[in-house]
Symmetry: C2
Subunit: 671 residues, 2 copies
């Protein structure tokens, strides 16, 4: 606490923070990113009260409202973005996600129900089916004539899709597939549109042909007509949930349901008339992961949704903090504005920094996603990079959004708990983002495995242990290896004593070095610990892996932090050289310092930070960076670009300000 901050630093430190002017329009344009026009149009659409969530609406009415709102989305045309041109779509995968992201501003139930219809059900037909399927079903899917389900998850198997137990057995005689649910654990579960509205479904099942199981495949299955479930099909309503109650999640089961052979979505595996199975991908494992690869779209979508929800959280909480007053200022007859309290700054401003950072990271990921899904980048490595990046950012963004919403809700006190002020309601709706479309903990393990794999590849020549000789030269560069192991930073022999002041940590190169070095060192240590596994029996190897499971997840998380920090840094570097850039540089510094403070124990234990510098970090955050950012918080929030019709929370739309004016006027009459 007593650590003084070294004042002799770069020239930028001498600028008086309050004299700088933030260009809100410039920030706004950067936030809208590469799909600015599509994002603007989607935001405009979300200003329509017909699309807004009605807080407290009973579940049954909410479900019907959301279904009818989907029709508004069809009319608005954004739905077309993801579909092939052959059926009238616009084949703009990045634009499609950019559009989807924003819908959280209207109602997360509407967003996710649209994601079920077009992003999962429709996308499965698009990506797992072939042209005949597109022409037959996509028009009805796009127009909502066929509301549908994405029936993959089973009650017994969530994240472990390979183990689902539903079967689709080819019946040579009739030429049909017989879809069957063998037991209760194999019921499809949590399926959006299943409880009420789904007329069809893409159902994932083990494909069995002539007694041989070819693994998980997807079939198009009609579910309901005007009289309800078709023969052999049954289901249940999942009932009320912690949020997203505008979506009719439910369960489905199938008792020897016949669908024609043509209903197998056969891009990656088909059965011919003679009952012979074939696939363009020979390896069963690779085929499975290729089919599941289309799930990446859901993860990328959720990152975008989380970014926008986080923008809303920061906007509500900080705007209220800038007007709300509580407790008298000592020695004054005024009350203190909440945002002037140090704790209030610490609770909210780092989340604002992270919100900007995640937005920039998402825009970069979307570029890769767009290229991969358009096929302009379609190597195995590109796809794996995208999957790893999405597996890292999905946990990062969803958990960050929940943290920001919760911090905001608490910072707004009782007002934050009222549904009209959005925060508690949004948090409830977003809660499930942490576990659906790939449980966050499971995804982080995938990332860690990829990091270890990259590490092994990088050192195949020298073998494990040759780390010391490996010196990356990327420090200070603005390029990034977007996924997999971030290129390793140069080791500095005496990291802890090369500079005595906080000035060291303040430089971009040092922040990068600290963050990169941590990922690299964690991965190296894990590779070392897990090396014996290759010579063990599977059971023993599994136990060794489990012994390091927490460390694996920590390494993956550190990687995600680095990726997001890099995106923030690149965005700041790209800005014109003006006041706004200086303020955003401080915001990026705050973001970097918070990461280093959070992992301070690691930096100390690994000799990367001296005690002196480690102590100085908190003081620098609390008493230098936060006060510098304080005069610009209104502009920084405005830069996120949300209108009053997006925000809607009465506490930030003048209501609180007006109450204080009335109170002051009254006090004046008392003399």
């Amino acid at each position: 606490m007593s650590t003084q901050v070294d004042m002799a630093a770069t020239t930028s430190e001498h600028v008086e923070a309050q004299d700088l002017t933030v260009d809100v329009a410039q920030l706004g344009a950067q936030v809208l990113g590469q799909w600015a026009e599509i994002r603007s149009r989607a935001r405009k659409l979300c200003e329509d009260p017909a699309l807004w969530k009605i807080e407290g609406q009973p579940m049954a009415e909410h479900r019907e409202r959301v279904l009818s709102q989907l029709g508004v989305l069809v009319d608005a045309g954004g739905v077309l973005l993801s579909f092939p041109e052959s059926v009238g779509g616009k084949n703009n995968p990045g634009g499609n996600i950019a559009n989807f992201e924003q819908l959280v501003l209207a109602d997360p139930s509407l967003q996710i129900k649209s994601g079920v219809q077009w992003g999962l059900f429709g996308a499965a037909v698009t990506h797992l089916g072939t042209d005949k399927h597109h022409r037959k079903w996509l028009p009805g899917i796009m127009s909502l004539d066929i509301p549908g389900c994405f029936a993959m998850t089973e009650t017994g198997h969530g994240s472990d899709v390979a183990s689902i137990a539903t079967t689709a057995t080819y019946d040579q005689e009739s030429g049909d597939f017989i879809l069957h649910t063998p037991h209760r654990g194999a019921w499809k579960d949590y399926i959006g549109n299943a409880a009420l509205h789904g007329k069809a479904a893409v159902v994932f099942a083990q494909l069995i042909v002539a007694g041989e199981n070819h693994g998980v495949h997807a079939l198009y299955v009609p579910l309901r007509d005007e009289n309800g479930f078709l023969e052999g099909i049954g289901g249940e309503d999942d009932g009320p949930k912690g949020g997203l109650n505008g979506i009719d999640n439910g369960r489905l089961h199938f008792t020897n349901v016949r669908v024609p052979r043509e209903n197998l979505l056969d891009r990656y595996g088909s059965v011919d008339e003679a009952g012979v199975y074939s696939s363009p991908i020979e390896s069963r494992g690779r085929r499975f992961f290729t089919m599941l690869g289309t799930l990446v779209q859901g993860r990328v979508s959720l990152v975008g949704a989380s970014v926008v929800a986080s923008q809303l959280a920061s906007t509500v909480a900080i705007r209220y903090g800038l007007v709300r007053r509580q407790f008298p200022i000592p020695g004054s007859d005024q009350e203190q504005v909440l945002m002037d309290y140090q704790t209030h700054q610490r609770r909210l401003v780092p989340h604002l920094a992270n919100t900007y950072a995640m937005g920039f990271a998402q825009d970069e990921m979307l570029e890769l996603f767009h290229d991969v899904f358009l096929g302009t980048k379609d190597s195995e490595e590109d796809r794996q990079d995208l999957e790893t990046l999405a597996a890292a950012l999905k946990p990062y963004a969803t958990w960050s959004a929940l943290d920001n919403l919760q911090a905001g809700r608490e910072a707004c006190g009782g007002q934050g708990f009222l549904s009209e002020n959005r925060l508690a309601s949004l948090r409830a709706d977003l809660d499930v983002y942490a576990t659906f479309e790939g449980d966050n903990t499971v995804l982080l393990q995938l990332v860690a495995k990829r990091l270890l794999g990259d590490y092994a590849k990088a050192f195949k020549a020298g073998g494990f242990g040759s780390m010391a000789s490996y010196v990356a030269d990327h420090v200070g560069e603005a390029t990034i290896n977007r996924s997999g192991l971030r290129r390793l930073a140069q080791r500095v022999a005496d990291f802890g004593s090369t500079a005595r002041s906080i000035g060291y940590v303040r430089s971009t190169a040092s922040q990068r070095q600290l963050l990169t070095d941590r990922v690299e060192t964690m991965v190296e240590a894990l590779a070392d610990e897990l090396r014996p596994a290759s010579k063990m029996e599977p059971g023993e190897a599994g136990a060794l892996m489990n012994k390091h499971q927490s460390a694996l997840i920590d390494a993956a998380w550190a990687h995600a932090e680095l990726v997001v920090w890099e995106a923030f840094t690149r965005a700041v570097v790209a800005m014109p050289d003006n006041d706004t850039k200086q303020v955003m540089r401080w915001l990026r510094d705050l973001h970097g310092f918070m990461l280093i403070e959070r992992h301070r124990d690691w930096y100390l234990m690994n000799g990367r930070l001296s005690v002196h510098r480690a102590e100085a970090i908190t003081d620098y955050i609390n008493n230098r960076l936060l006060p510098r950012l304080r005069p610009h918080l209104g502009d920084l929030v405005a830069g996120l670009g949300l209108s009053d019709a997006h925000v809607r929370a009465p506490i930030v739309l003048g209501e609180e300000h007006e109450r204080q004016e009335q109170a002051r006027a009254h006090e004046a009459t008392l003399g």
Copy 2:
């Protein structure tokens, strides 16, 4: 990660964990604590389906259901516990809270609505009123003939009660008080029972007599008759909230509403017929804090409610984790039980440890509460001790419960998001606990100020800076100074090198020393930093205080952690010398190690832990303590004593087990 744990340790380490037998009944008795009979009766009551929350019930119906459930509580008689014998009550303040705590098992809305009626409204009449008020109103309050409100908070002033703007002006001529709301910010807000059911209210207002403001006082005010609001009274519904939607929170305002002089609750301030104000407490500040002191009951109640909610969270999440399987065990045809994953253990078991710890801390606090409210302990210091303890434990317990519920909800995946499995629903209901009855952040600042005050008192003789000469001799003792500054542990000159193994940290004395020393050192540093404030202008002093606000909160939190750890330790010490004690000792060690790991950066920066020991802590948690506790998790959860009718979550009542049996039977048929 590579740190090996020293095996040469106390004899207890050599016991094979799986050979120990946990005595569930013994644990159960200890959990029920000093008010075992009352707690058992309340738990029994909560098994009545008529009291259960119906998930997804629309708000209007939920509110009516909860009102009618209050009648069941009246019939059950627990309501009488807190009230004076003069009106037929049982004058058992500790028992009253012990009873209240458990109601969260039925429905948190029911619990909090009962708290509004009897714990706030009724308690205000009891503690701020005098015998005439008791006889006139308490019978109707106890029987629910008078549903009522506790109208303290205003839209403009939440935590800062001293600044409320509602006035009660004595009208000499009529002998009435004129209650008046001067502007919108002075509307009473978030008031339970205000939107619909309240027939009367205790209203807090600035008491003005002959032009002089005597500060905040409370008056009994009739609100509604069968035709609705009485003349001059108006209000609004707060509408849907993030949770607790079975309670009709609302706003109230008063336009020159007259109430007779006798309606002033006059224990701490009265106005006689001649219009002369008098009070047994001369100091206006002390009078205010004495009146607000009754609020401590609400805080103690919320700690209890949070403990029980946390018991439920651990029970659901761990019981599901013990049966649910996912992903094949490498080299086996079985799937892995979730609870065998290291991350799953790390996510859930520390919360279980904390749940036990908080329960023991609450039982101790209840003893002090009981003595203070019975008057067997009624010194100023006792009251302040209680208030400080409640101000520390309320944030600790409410935030801990939310964390546990969230960890549990995520650990249960999609099932955790279904309302039927309780976790998401309970989390939503408990969310507001973090900011009502005293915002957690504000309360922690109160604690910090008390710690600083105690510190100043302790060193008045020697003056600040004499710390080095102060050596406490309480290490290793099981006594506790329950609130205020925990007696200071002996400083060890070279804390970092006295022992090289983890064995050092494992001893109770060392854990106590590490935790105590941290509080003490943080308070000492703060006292040092804030010393100049006493010579500053108020504005400057306020700014200095604000510069250290985060550090103040951190110190208060460290104090709360110490108090809870001490309670856990005392409970273990008190156990008979058997296997159960050994297992609970490991659970306490886990609790202590998690605290030390969490603040590892502080211990390293302050030279209290060597890098070697700091690194060993995580390994010891993950690969020693958690595996040792693993075989006992079922028993440890059973020891919390919740029945199936409390738990209710289908996923832990055999449903998942049965699904897996079916799946296995099916697989067997496949050969």
